[in-house]
């Protein structure tokens, strides 16, 4: 059953190979502008808590900032490797 459906494309084509190497196109990664990137909530929160921690001298805030920093780092994609937030939060 599974096999039948998996090669169903081929069966429909009358047994011919559906592959067409001549039309193969290499992968073109979509161009992303920095504005279109999803918002880095964790990084934003890290900065907010970092600033609050520095301003009001709450240690807990600074620690929360570091934790959010770690989250933002963990969720970092390949292209957006800005460590600004990290330094901001560590201040």
């Amino acid at each position: 059953m599974k096999e039948g459906s998996s090669s169903g494309g081929g069966a429909f084509a009358g047994g011919s190979d559906p592959r067409q190497p001549s039309t193969a196109k290499p992968y073109a990664p979509p161009k992303l502008s920095p504005q279109d990137l999803p918002i880095d909530y964790a990084g934003f929160l890290a900065v907010v808590f970092g600033v609050v921690g520095v301003m009001l001298r709450y240690k807990v805030c600074s620690w929360i900032a570091i934790i959010f920093c770690a989250q933002s780092l963990a969720n970092m994609k390949n292209f957006e490797n800005d460590l600004k937030q990290l330094s901001m939060a560590f201040m």
Partner: protein, 485 residues
């Protein structure tokens, strides 16, 4: 002689001053810490300070209330300090006397030094408290290790740090384990469906995001998104499968997912060749999801409606599912017996429905590509990857089905009408946008001209006006004649 000696004396005095101030601060903080031990000495200081430190204040409750004079929470209260030698003498009277500033002033020869600190604290207790609250609130944690505390107290003092550091350690450990889990699922999928003699190998000539043979099959984007690309097949330009895993690597997201559960999903997007896809707009999903799709996707919103009844005399999709289509004919032709039998029919859906999210075929998709087939499935665990074989098989099946499909002339006239209408609207929108741009340009030109006019000298303006008047006279002359004749 006197002057140099004074000068020589000055720096030590300044340093002494600074030292004294420091000692004041430190001693204050110590007082805040240790006032519980020498309670009989300083009831007033404790009474003044307990606004800052709640715990000490609570300890203090059963003691006799502080005397009323004690509003003066003069800073140099502590007798414990051995570092600040000159202080204790004035300190003890300072708490009792109504004029501690004067005492300080006289006994120490640091003239005018304690005044700025003592006087405000005497005049208004509240701001002085506010001033002292900062260091005293901060100091306990820093002073704690210096004054060898018991482990329990240490634990309490550093509870925040301990909690945060242990959480961070958990976070890091979870990052690596979660990352590996996600990778395992993605690799299991790839070995099942994209290796030699698997479904995609049989259907596509190019697998993976590279162009050579030895490139990795999967492209990793972040820790929870994996992409698989395939190309080189009839009817279509390429296929991109995007696996979106749960954020297993992220402990915080994991907590969020406890409240809002998510599933691993895989989305296949097949870009069809321009000439290989007729007018087909169809979506299948669970009833609720289908309704939201119909509202949110522009092509469905514009061209398609939710089918209320199945085509007569046919087996149809499971009751859980709803079909959004442009016409009944398209829906009937696209949802074939084979598809019903394999996945979408009543019986098959009981087994495989849990892996199915949606299916969306469209030749009018809003985006960079118009003719796209989109399939959304739930990813099973790494160990039961074979359960979604049938669903994955839908992808090549639909590529061929759609690629071969030709609408009947009757249905085609209808869809043609809708599409030309849509195209016209799009064209109009474009034109109006273009016109707006043109008008804006014109307005800018006019503004420039006006500015230039304003710059012209008055005489030139007059000349121009005269010329224009003459021209108008000329113009109006023959017109009148024409009218009369």
């Amino acid at each position: 002689m006197a002057a140099p000696s004074w000068i020589r004396l000055r720096p030590p005095r300044a340093t002494l001053l600074i030292l004294l101030l420091l000692a004041l601060n430190i001693s204050l903080s110590f007082a805040a810490n240790f006032e519980g031990f020498d309670s009989d000495d300083l009831p007033s200081a404790a009474g003044g300070l307990d606004a800052d430190d709640d715990e000490e204040g609570l300890d203090r409750v059963d003691l006799p209330p502080p005397p009323p004079i004690s509003l003066s929470t003069s800073a140099p209260s502590p007798p414990v300090t051995t570092t600040s030698a000159p202080n204790p003498n004035p300190a003890t009277p300072a708490t009792r006397d109504p004029t501690p500033a004067l005492d300080l002033w006289d006994e120490d020869e640091f003239e005018g030094i304690p005044v700025p600190e003592a006087i405000p604290s005497d005049d208004s207790a509240a701001p002085a408290e506010a001033d002292t609250s900062d260091p005293s609130a901060e100091a306990p944690a820093e002073a704690a290790p210096a004054a060898k505390r018991s482990p329990a107290e240490l634990l309490r003092a550093f509870s925040v740090e301990i909690a945060c550091v242990s959480f961070l350690i958990c976070f890091v450990l979870n990052y690596f384990t979660g990352k590996r889990q996600n990778e395992n699922i993605a690799l299991a999928w790839a070995t099942k469906f994209a290796t030699r003699d698997s479904i995609f190998d049989k259907n596509f000539s190019l697998l993976g995001t590279g162009d050579g043979k030895d490139t990795p099959l999967l492209l990793k984007e972040g820790q929870d998104v994996f992409k698989f690309y395939a190309s080189g097949r009839r009817f279509c330009q390429g296929m991109l499968a995007t696996m979106e895993m749960r954020a297993r690597h992220d402990l915080l997201s994991k907590f969020v997912e406890l409240v809002f559960p998510r599933k691993d999903t895989i989305t296949f997007e097949v870009v069809m060749n321009e000439e290989a896809m007729d007018h087909v707009i169809l979506a299948v999903a669970r009833k609720k999801a289908a309704k939201t799709m119909q509202k949110e996707e522009r092509d469905l919103q514009r061209f398609a409606n939710v089918l209320t009844s199945a085509p007569a005399g046919r087996k149809w999709v499971s009751d859980e599912l709803a079909v959004v289509a442009e016409s009944k004919e398209v829906a009937g032709d696209m949802i074939t017996e084979a598809v019903l039998d394999q996945v979408l029919g009543e019986k098959a859906f009981e087994n495989f429905g849990k892996w199915f999210i949606s299916l969306h075929l469209s030749d009018q998709l809003a985006g960079s590509y118009k003719k796209v087939l989109t399939f959304k499935f739930v990813l099973p665990d790494a160990s039961n990857m074979s359960e979604m074989t049938r669903l994955v098989a839908l992808v090549p099946y639909y590529i061929d089905l759609v690629g071969r499909y030709k609408l009947s002339s009757h249905a085609r006239s209808k869809t043609d009408g809708a599409r030309t209408k849509a195209a016209q609207e799009a064209f109009k929108e474009m034109q109006s946008a273009r016109q707006e741009a043109l008008q804006r340009k014109k307005a800018e030109k006019k503004k420039l001209m006006e500015e230039a006019d304003a710059k012209l000298s008055a005489e030139a303006l007059r000349k121009k006006e005269e010329k224009e008047r003459a021209r108008q006279m000329k113009k109006s002359g023959p017109k009148v004649k024409m009218l009369r004749s």
